[in-house]
């Protein structure tokens, strides 16, 4: 134990200092933080011997002495319609009942760190039957400091019965000293509610983005997420969606693009706990340089979850000889009347398609550009906000140094 404590010495000192500050929160949160930090110290950082971290080495994170810093997270909407409440988490925990979402049950090391250290973030509440037409934008900026800093942004969203909302989360940052972003986002989706979620991660290549999202869906609710990840030194997204009510529908789509020496890792779990729930998952990766991609898609079908219809696809496009991808579907099915399909493909740009385009006069570089966009299109086209989609198409071109 003393050895572990020494290894996490800076965290222990920081936690002791934080414990006496006003930001440590009310009783329920103090208890949750102490438990989370205790579990983190017990476990320590994972190693590649841990199945969940087999291809993603976090030793570089463990070796850095991180300073705490407040997460710079803001809501950029000016006018919010009636029925929408957005408050800082500090305000929320003073006025709301305990915000005990699924994250507090997680043993994920970076969720534990976030729970122990988050100072602020946002609580978003959409009242029942409220239809919010304009998306709510949250922007988190990972600003490098003089020394490596850890930020712990946290977003807690409660969507009331039959309400409808679109939430956009963006993570941005500049190059400089390393930044460790331990983001935690939670969605409690009420019965019949409809949620559209977009996450855009565009931090610097010196950033470690270790994010977890938890989605808890009640009956007949719909949750659709499109996550676009442009990588970092390590960008890891863990998504856990629990279909806890009959007829809930979940879509988890994502596009990850990585170049240079970066790594993008996506671990998803869709937990079918109730019958008649469809889930759809399409993840596409474009990797170049020496970039590494990891995709692990777990689908659990519980004994009660008859008539589950789960589809999962992971496709990776490798644009260089040194880029690699590790992809693994993981199905755990305990019900007998279900449909579960999964497929993974890994490949280069198709030569016959390239030739077809060139044979019509389109230059090789432009033909490659067209095919790369086509590959990304079924994820990007699902983003309903035109301005964001168009911006991401431009970002894709710049990231891959394609002709404009």
């Amino acid at each position: 134990m003393s050895q572990v404590a020494e290894r996490h010495g800076t965290f222990v000192d920081a936690f002791e200092a934080f414990r006496t500050s006003s930001g440590f929160g009310p009783e329920w949160l103090r208890t949750a933080r102490a438990a989370a930090f205790g579990r983190f110290l017990e476990q320590g950082f994972p190693t590649t011997r841990d199945e969940e971290w087999k291809f993603t080495n976090v030793a570089p994170i463990a070796q850095i002495e991180w300073q705490g810093a407040a997460a710079q997270i803001s809501v950029i909407n000016r006018d919010l319609p009636d029925g929408v409440t957005i408050s800082t988490l500090r305000e929320a925990w003073a006025t709301q009942p305990a915000l005990e979402g699924p994250s507090l049950k997680s043993d994920h090391p970076f969720v534990l760190l976030n729970t122990a250290f988050f100072e602020d973030g946002f609580f978003i509440h959409i009242a029942p039957k409220t239809v919010v037409t304009d998306p709510i934008h949250l922007v988190c900026v990972a600003e490098p400091g003089d020394a490596p800093v850890m930020i712990a942004p946290r977003i807690f969203v409660v969507v009331g019965e039959q309400a409808q909302v679109s939430i956009v989360e963006r993570y941005q940052g500049r190059d400089g000293q390393p930044v460790l972003t331990t983001a935690v986002t939670e969605f409690l989706v009420g019965p019949g509610a409809v949620v559209d979620h977009v996450k855009v991660q565009q931090e610097a290549s010196s950033t470690f983005h270790m994010a977890s999202m938890f989605v808890h869906q009640h009956r007949a609710s719909t949750f659709a997420s499109r996550a676009v990840t442009f990588g970092g030194r390590v960008a890891r997204n863990d998504i856990t969606a629990t279909l806890a009510g009959e007829g809930a529908e979940c879509t988890l789509n994502g596009l990850y693009v990585a170049d240079g020496d970066t790594l993008v890792d996506t671990h998803t779990t869709i937990d079918h706990a109730q019958p008649h729930c469809p889930s759809h998952e399409v993840y596409k990766g474009i990797l170049t340089g020496k970039a590494k991609g990891v995709f692990n898609g777990k689908i659990i079908v519980r004994p009660d979850a008859q008539k589950t219809d789960a589809k999962q696809t992971n496709k990776a496009l490798l644009l260089s000889g040194d880029a690699t991808i590790n992809t693994k579907p993981q199905l755990e099915i305990f019900a007998d009347d279900v449909k579960c399909t999964h497929g993974a493909t890994v490949g280069q740009l198709d030569d016959t398609q390239l030739f077809y385009l060139r044979a019509r006069g389109i230059a090789l570089a432009d033909a490659r550009n067209i095919l790369i966009h086509a590959f990304a299109s079924d994820v990007l086209n699902g983003i309903r906000h035109d301005a964001i989609r168009e911006e991401l198409e431009v970002a894709l071109v710049q990231k891959l140094h394609l002709p404009e």
């Binding site: 030739f355 044979a359 019509r360 006069g361 389109i362 067209i370 966009h373």
Partner: protein, 253 residues
């Protein structure tokens, strides 16, 4: 002379396929290339279009005074060479109309012309789409994705109509077509016949030549043109089969 092929030798997958093919094509002419399976018909079409799987090991191809074999596929297309694919390629995620606009503008840019804007482009393709009986839904779908065999071939000729090449090569455009689709495709090709455009029709069957009447018919066998004639040669082949040609060539040798 638009196209001058001299003693052309071509290799694919380490096999010699064309073994000294010579052919001259003038503007305004329609040449049919016929021959049994494996005679090298499609190889000829593909080497002319710049297909990366085919390598010229000897001879020359001069197109419009330039060395065709020295050009990239896109350069050939921009110079006015068009091949209608035997097996048109499906490209999921790329809208058919978007693709065609990219092609038209690539060719225009190459020629130093202004690129077409969206409205000018729609005007350009409207009439050609009617010619090939292409409806709007075919234009809005992904390139060839989920198209029937007939739709794919119509899409090829539609592209040809829009790009207005100087030299069009139809690689077994008739294969797999029912008679209605064949008529539509042939009408499209005939509408494009003009004194300054040459067309090479590669086909296994004479049937297409009832609709696209050639000026010359060449029979390819064993990687060479073994017989050339007028349109009656196609009828003779249809009546007597390719075996007759092989026998005749064998007798000569």
């Amino acid at each position: 002379m638009l196209l001058e092929i001299t003693d052309l030798r071509v290799k694919a997958e380490d096999k010699d396929i064309l073994k000294g093919l010579t052919l001259s094509v003038n503007p305004g002419e329609v040449h049919a290339i016929m021959g049994p399976n494996g005679s090298g018909k499609s190889t000829l079409a593909r080497i002319l279009s710049g297909h990366p799987g085919y390598e010229a090991t000897g001879g020359s191809v001069t197109y419009d005074g330039k060395d065709l074999l020295d050009m990239d596929p896109e350069e050939r297309a921009c110079e006015g060479v068009f091949m209608a694919f035997q097996y048109p390629v499906e490209i999921p995620g790329v809208n058919n109309q978007y693709f065609l606009k990219a092609a038209v503008n690539a060719v225009r840019k190459y020629k130093g012309q202004e690129e077409l804007d969206a409205i000018e482009f729609i005007q350009l393709i409207k009439e050609k789409a009617r010619l090939l009986e292409m409806d709007q839904s075919m234009l809005n779908r992904a390139v060839n994705e989920g198209f029937s065999g007939g739709e794919k071939k119509r899409n090829e000729i539609f592209q040809m109509a829009v790009l207005e090449p100087k030299l069009a090569i139809l690689d077994e455009t008739d294969s797999g077509l029912d008679i209605d689709a064949l008529r539509i495709v042939a009408n499209g090709v005939n509408a494009l016949r003009s004194p300054d455009r040459a067309i090479i029709v590669v086909t296994h069957y004479q049937r297409l030549l009832d609709y696209i009447v050639p000026d010359f018919v060449h029979v390819l066998s064993g990687g060479k043109i073994v017989r050339s004639g007028g349109k009656d040669l196609a009828l003779e082949l249809e009546a007597r089969g390719y075996g007759w040609i092989d026998d005749a060539v064998g007798a000569q040798a």
